[in-house]
Amino acid sequence: MFGKARFFLTAMILLSGIILQGCDTSHPPESRLKTALAKSEQCVEPTALMRTNHMEFIKHMQDDTVYGGIRGTKHELKACINCHVPAASEDGKPLNYLKDNETGELNEEHFCATCHKYAVVKLNCFECHSDNPQNEGVAPNTAAHKIPALTSAQAKGGSHE
């Protein structure tokens, strides 16, 4: 009885694997991720563990920070961003996780977005959180110039492949 179910499940998994492979053969672009990838070797946890469990670490930290006021630990989202996302992309503009703010298309050059786009997993941290590093201690880009400037920059950058 369970044999049938197991066969069915296995078939389903294999089939969906084949379909996924067939649909998406594009691999994440490596060029601009070089710094980020190099640093991933020095990550706070082993790469394999991070690949499967990073969201659990971040989620756990989320409660500690919101309820407990614990900040500056190695598992917090801000630390991930500060290490894995370069302060600016090659054209000198901040590297954002969205290629296009209007359509919500993910930007493959952004460390988090690359994988999430590839795996088709929703990435919603950055609907609220900052998606690029901001220097500690120094006041972050002020609202006055940052927000309007960025929107126009992204509009331009969006068309750039």
Binding site: D63, Y67, G68, R71, K78, P140, L150, T151
Partner: protein, 245 residues
């Protein structure tokens, strides 16, 4: 009613209350586990401290506008591109008060008053609207469903709903579409031992400190000179007090 250790006890309470439902158990056993673990944690802020602010309106050079500017700079609100004036976020505003009988005019900044018994915390269906053990009232946006009941309940109109998608938020001030937000008393700075941005910008007009510590600057000043609460009649025991109003 007012339980100073509210966060931990809240969580324990709702864990006991809801933890039995089969739906919850099947939906997310991992999540529930996380809740339990999150309670008695080392290093969490405690109710030994209650943060508060004392604002001397006579010493404010720009009647509170400096506070508004500093807050905008720190948190990045108010520049929403699509929202109209009534929809834009407003964490703190400069209010002008003209006494009807005497005509006396006063100006003061009004923001979240960080009530001890906060109406927004009581009404929130998910517990997203919360008071930290150290008295700072926050919105946990991870569980905020955007119902805006807290905005209906707040007597100070201190809260804003984010009406559009936001990009490039400040690293220490996460804000996003569909959730409610308000003054955080610069909790990210307080946790690092710094004063809120508005206090820094106020040239001494605002004193920040621990209301529970009788020797703190703010407690001494309040004891000697007194400070008023806005809508004291509501009995909310606010963490933000005023002089000169």
């Amino acid at each position: 009613m007012s339980n100073p250790q509210n966060i931990n006890s809240y969580r324990r309470k709702f864990m006991q209350g809801i933890g039995v439902t089969a739906a919850a158990a099947t939906l997310a056993p991992g999540m529930l586990l996380r809740e339990v673990q999150a309670s008695n944690k080392e290093g969490y802020v405690t109710d030994k401290v209650r943060w508060g602010m004392l604002i001397d309106t006579n010493k404010l050079v720009e009647g509170g506008q400096e506070v508004v500017n500093a807050c905008k700079k720190e948190h990045g609100w108010g520049a929403e591109a699509h929202s109209n004036e009534r929809q834009k976020a407003s964490w703190v505003r400069k209010v002008t008060v003209t006494e009807k009988t005497t005509g006396y005019v006063n100006q003061l900044p009004v923001m979240c008053q960080h009530c001890e018994t906060a109406p927004c915390v009581d009404v929130c269906p998910t517990g997203a609207s919360m008071k930290r053990a150290d008295g700072i009232v926050l919105v946990n946006k991870h569980i905020c469903i955007g119902c805006r009941y807290c905005m209906m309940a707040c007597p100070y109109k201190a809260r804003s709903f984010v009406h559009e998608s936001l990009f490039d938020q400040h690293a220490d001030s996460p804000r996003g579409k569909g959730t409610v937000e308000s003054c955080t008393m610069c909790v990210h700075r307080v946790d690092e031992g710094k004063e809120p941005a508005c206090v820094e910008a106020s040239n001494g007009a605002i004193v920040f400190g621990d209301l529970n510590d009788p020797n703190s600057n703010i407690s001494q000043k309040l004891k000697a000179e007194d400070g008023k609460q806005i809508r004291a009649d509501l009995g909310l025991n606010t963490g933000v007090r005023y002089q000169g109003i």
